[in-house]
């Protein structure tokens, strides 16, 4: 199993109810598969929102199909609105 650190920001943090969590996932699963597991674990997370949010793996923007490397830090968040 592969331990990953998951972070939520903005509306997603609000929906999940936590800023971060540690989760064990099988090696080789994708960002999209992690999203599915997170929606199961955090009932407040809306699938539509998770489906369309931005995601980063080790602080680089990633695609749903990307494989999550061991020990990764994965973050989920809406399109940015800084400035």
């Amino acid at each position: 199993m592969n331990p990953v650190k998951v972070l939520f920001f903005a509306t997603l943090r609000h929906q999940a109810g936590v800023r971060s969590t540690e989760i064990e996932i099988p090696e080789g699963i994708t960002v999209r598969q992690l999203k599915e597991r997170l929606v199961e674990r955090f009932p407040g997370l809306d699938w539509q929102v998770m489906d369309h949010c931005l995601a980063s793996v080790n602080q680089e923007y990633c695609a749903d199909e990307d494989i999550i490397p061991p020990g990764a830090e994965v973050a989920f968040f809406p399109p940015v609105s800084g400035g």
């Binding site: 980063s56 602080q59 990633c62 968040f77 809406p78 609105s81 800084g82």
Partner: protein
């Protein structure tokens, strides 16, 4: 020769004087600085009032993406000397400067203005910072509309 750079997420007031001094070299003759402020009153699009904005950031990624914005600026305008990119977070009230992009160069006609403009445009696309708007009508997270490509 290496040029001064500042990339920061901070809860402190933006000090334009100090930031400008930190990116000024003996060869510097010009600086263009952009700052954004909290608008208390917005007229364009959906007119409304704002009591305050609450900013949050994914700090290490935000500072890394600021560095990336600076690299993009240097690739486009090689005469740029110093670059400062600072985003203030926390609860910020109307008239408060929230973000600063400053670029220096020897002269004013080799891209400082364009570089600062590019910097704020890119920050609003790829630097992971969000704001919640709180006003008389309640509160609402503001969402951008840019979807960075993987690796962008």
């Amino acid at each position: 020769m290496s040029f001064p750079e500042i990339f920061a997420i901070t809860e402190d007031e933006l000090d334009l004087n100090a930031l400008l001094a930190a990116i000024t070299l003996d060869s510097t003759g010009a600086a263009a600085i952009f700052t954004g402020m909290v608008r208390g009153v917005t007229v364009r699009n959906h007119p409304h009032e704002t009591t305050y904005l609450e900013y949050e950031a994914y700090q290490p990624m935000a500072e890394a993406k600021m560095k990336q914005v600076a690299e993009e600026i240097r690739a486009r305008w090689p005469s740029i000397e110093g670059i400062a990119i600072v985003q203030r977070v926390g609860r910020l009230y109307p008239r408060t400067p929230t973000v600063l992009i400053a670029c220096t160069a020897a002269h004013r006609d080799t891209g400082v203005f364009e570089a600062a403009r590019y910097g704020i445009d890119r920050l609003k696309e790829i630097v992971p910072v969000w704001k919640k708007e709180v006003g008389p009508q309640g509160e609402e997270w503001v969402e951008g509309d840019y979807h960075p490509r993987p690796g962008e």
